[in-house]
Symmetry: C2
Subunit: 324 residues, 2 copies
């Protein structure tokens, strides 16, 4: 949520000179992204995002993200393209950091979704999953089921119960449950893995872009639906479930990607896993971010409330009943 590397028009102008994209006319650092530096770049021809990859993105993963977005774009999905310069290079070096010039997509991220917006998002997610059935590159999920217990232990050592009494024990019980019940036979594919409303651009009820693929990885495909459901179908604090938004999301998704009986049976576990993943990373960030830092800390308990909701088997049956 900040610009870590300061760039002036001299450096950006020199970079743009490698491309056929026109001359620089405006440059603004934007407060967006996970520990990357992002600039809004306006040229005489078009608009772009210039991203400099700081510590959190491994440069070795960039070819996977590039290929993923190209594959999706070629399949007609609405995702931004990494721009290639005159020599075909899409990966640049700016101030010693890996950098990419990326297509700017119009659209805004909704704060609280309507049912119609959730339906469009579900359809876009289904379209993406359909398109990725023949995508062959892979990238491990460093925040998958096997990572949760070690992450829980690191958080516990630093005082998980200071966030909420009994939280450490609750999380370890959930690790036990999920490790014992995690599905092993469901289709695995490249997934987005972080499709929160922040990462969906819309105009009205239409999706204009899926963005921020930096958590994309190879994982149980239906886990992506579980993440998206947990991110879209509740009030921010997790206290209120929105049945209509849920029904819209599920209907939009299944119109493109039907959910078979095996996946339906596994969905309660996948939904709980999605909640634990965000509960844990939010706890980690909460513990490791000073309260007075400029970065806004996200409430971990918002995902404990979702976890409690999904732990009620009747609720998940309800989701499936109203959404299929």
């Amino acid at each position: 949520m900040a610009v870590y590397t300061q760039l002036g028009p001299e450096q950006v102008g020199a970079l743009l000179a490698r491309y056929d994209v026109g001359e620089l006319v405006a440059l603004k650092g934007i407060a967006e992204g996970v520990e990357n530096s992002n600039y809004f770049v306006q040229t005489t021809q078009s608009r772009f995002i210039l991203t400099l990859y700081e510590s959190r993105v491994d440069p070795d993963d960039l070819p996977f993200f590039y290929a993923l977005l190209k594959h999706l774009h070629d399949a007609g999905c609405k995702v931004p393209q990494f721009m290639a310069d005159r020599e075909g290079q899409w990966l640049q070096n700016v101030e010693g950091k890996p950098a990419c010039l990326i297509e700017f997509l119009d659209g805004v991220s909704v704060t609280q979704s309507t049912a119609a917006q959730a339906r469009s998002t579900g359809a876009a997610l289904g379209h993406m999953h359909d398109a990725l059935t023949n995508f062959t590159l892979s990238r491990p999920n460093s925040l998958g089921v096997l990572a949760w217990r070690p992450l829980a232990m690191r958080c516990t050592e630093k005082g998980l119960d200071a966030i909420s009494a009994g939280l450490a024990a609750r999380i370890l019980r959930e690790c036990d449950f999920l490790e014992a019940h995690w599905p092993v036979d469901l289709p695995v594919a490249a997934i987005h893995a972080d499709l929160f409303p922040d990462n969906v651009l819309m105009l009205g009820d239409d999706v204009t872009g899926l963005i921020d693929f930096y958590f994309a990885c190879t994982e149980i495909r239906a886990y992506d639906l579980a993440v998206t459901h947990s991110a879209w179908c509740f009030s921010h604090d997790g206290a209120h479930f929105d049945e209509e938004v849920s029904a819209g999301l599920m209907a939009g998704y299944t119109a493109r990607m039907p959910i078979d009986a095996q996946t339906q049976a596994a969905l309660p576990v996948l939904l709980r896993g999605a909640c634990l993943r965000f509960l844990l990373t939010r706890c980690y960030d909460w513990i490791n971010t000073p309260a007075n830092a400029l970065v806004t800390r996200k409430d971990p308990l918002a995902f404990l409330r979702r976890l409690d909701f999904y732990s009620d088997a009747g609720q998940v049956q309800n989701i499936l009943r109203h959404g299929l």
Copy 2:
């Protein structure tokens, strides 16, 4: 350098509905401004900056800034306009904060000026000063000569000498000198008071906009030239004076606003005053900003080096000889 109030498209869309500026198509928080929240707003018709005024800008000052920019715009100066809604309102309330929708100007801020760019900047400053000779509103300069000693005392109490040995004594001697020699008979007018390269938008060698008027105040007019000179004519660390940039800036300015003998005589004092003002505020920010904060602390000593340079009377004679 951050977004302090998070806005979604719902709030911004509702605001835009008050104006005849088209529909929202993109919204990005931008990392810019002095403790305000700034958003880049693209509509179907045009581009804007939406500013929410946080703690550092006094809402009571906004009518002064609005009138100043309108006056300058009407006089043909390149400055952004505060947009008025259908009812003529330019001051809005967004999330309980004063907010203004402001014209977006193309152009980029140079990091290190050329002589030609400095000449254009001098000409734009002269044009602005010329236009403001008949501007009647006033706003006190809270960072003027009388504010420097109290600010120096506050910094000294918190350990000025930790920044550099002997700095407290050097600053107090400078306060003595400036209070004794500060000119009293020079023309006073509204000035920008912070015309660093950051606050000048350019395309090539042409100025496309002067921005960020939130330090604008009523002050000795030639002090604005002194601030601008100190901001433009040195390497960032203040170690190297660029005679050609200086000559360009002075020539551009004086072509529009000749400097009379009385002002020339006072210029060494004004230049030293400009350096002390930024030395002091940078010291204050340095002392009061944790070293590990996300905000980049600016080196105070960069303005001590400029102060030393201008304290050499021969150097100022040189500036006047080559620039007039």
